[in-house]
């Protein structure tokens, strides 16, 4: 048996700031079975979704009017709890499941693009970098034990009292 690929997938998400108030985020999925595109626009400072469009250029599911289907997410604020709301609004039809997932990917992209702004301020040398991330945990204790880097025993949380 050769090791030729049975399946390959490429998912690309991009985010750009259109103007002071508007962020555009898109997700393109291309794999062996599907070629689809979803785009959202979100408005600052609330990060509420103001526009959405989607299309499936190649697929095996029955997905008439994807654009119309996705309009349900307009008004959703990108932030904590958004996945629950997006899932609740779009429902659980397997035909449209991938489109819903792509909306979520667009939203994650927006959050990561804003996270990048914070991370750009991190110093380059290890000692100062450690201090920078440690200060970040102190500022927002929800980061404590959020992942291996912020777990007890990590240098980044040394001396920080865990939430009671």
């Amino acid at each position: 048996m050769t090791h030729m690929l049975t399946f390959s997938r490429n998912r690309c998400t991009g985010v750009e700031q259109v103007d002071d108030q508007t962020i555009r985020s898109y997700c393109r999925l291309q794999d062996t079975l599907t070629d689809a595109y979803v785009e959202i626009t979100a408005r600052l400072p609330d990060l509420d979704i103001t526009g959405v469009k989607g299309e499936i250029q190649r697929g095996y599911r029955e997905t008439p009017e994807p654009d119309e289907f996705l309009q349900k997410v307009i008004g959703v604020r990108i932030g904590p709890g958004m996945l629950e709301i997006i899932k609740g609004l779009l429902g659980d039809s397997p035909d449209y499941e991938e489109l819903g997932f792509m909306v979520e990917e667009c939203c994650h992209g927006v959050i990561l693009s804003l996270t990048k702004g914070t991370l750009l301020r991190a110093p380059r040398n290890t000692e100062d970098r450690t201090e920078f991330f440690s200060a970040m945990v102190k500022e927002n204790i929800r980061l404590y034990n959020r992942c291996a880097a912020f777990a007890p025993g990590s240098l980044l949380v040394e001396g920080i009292t865990p939430p009671e």
């Binding site: 390959s8 609330d46 029955e62 429902g91 702004g117 991330f133 291996a148 880097a149 980044l156």
Partner: protein
Amino acid sequence: MLNFSRNKLVSIARKDEDTLLVHGILDDVIYGLEVDATVRISDMTFLSVNGKWNRYTTPECPKALPFLREATGFCINDKNITQKLQKTVGRKGCRHFATILIECCRSVKEAVRIIQWEAIKADHPNLTFEEFVNGEPREASYDSAEEKASPPHIEVREKTVRKDMPDARDSGGQDKTSGGFVIDLHTHTFPASPCSSVSEDDLITEAKRISLDGICLADHNYVWPVSRVEDLIQKHGFPVFRGNEVTTDQGHMLVFGLEKEIRSGGLVKIEELREAVEEADGFMIVAHPFRGFLTFGVGQLGLTVEKAMERPFFKYVDAIEVMNGKVTEKENGFASEVSAALGLPVTGGSDAHEVSEVGLYATRFPDSIKNENDLLNALKSGKGSPLAFRKEKTMV
């Protein structure tokens, strides 16, 4: 100019009749990482999972790698596979590794569809992939799909607990230094709230130990049956009230006096919930209205009090939770500023999901509260005031 980009690539090859080799790459502006996994086709389980970092942010990120192995044995067809990966690989290790593994799982499902179709096609050469898929049982797609099989709806439950409750202060509980009746209005128990890890008994025991006057079980989209709560009151000799944290299209709302339940996994429009609360003569509080992000605050987005006041949900609520144990002090402070500007009553609650979190925040009412009607009246009076209960208690 592109501000952020992320590429996820998954390649799947067949190692032998029953084994897939899966290679996943996540490469974005911030992180670069790869995973290699093997999956047994017959039961869709991970046989091995390994990974490596190419780029990361903190000096401690490499500590995430050993946790990848904890995904070994996970079944990709498990309806909770996403949550399991987020809880193990994501929370213990790194959520970006969980992200690429979730993408790998989604891809494996597609690859196996192709494999199954090709196997059947040997006997049915004219069967198209679309025909094959449409003949499949319609599997639920989202993890919670099984629970969401029925549309969200509001269901009538039992009547209110009206019997007078024991006063915690009569049974050894100590009065607060500042007086009043202090209730933690926002707590979660397991299994009613799957995200919680504490039983109702442990929660109540702790509330009693730290000298709260009462506790409110406000599980997600779940109304506690009256009989169960009455049993708890009798068992612990402690006031236990009922609330419900309902997920709406505008976020989480704490509702009181609503003898109806939003079925788990459902989502209700805030207007509909408001209507139901009004019909029941209940009370509705927006929970943690400015719960923000992990690495940046709402202030960095340029959110002002004036702008925040325009959020649509404020039109539908009776009060604002301005002290919540799951958000930062800044976010709580911002909620206070907005509530003051709006002139809406305020409350506090721990949002406890662990025993140690009970009573972090609570609400003090001026008079004793003996039953759920009293609680509703107290909430409606607008005389409740939030307090950092544990902190204040320590300082006394």
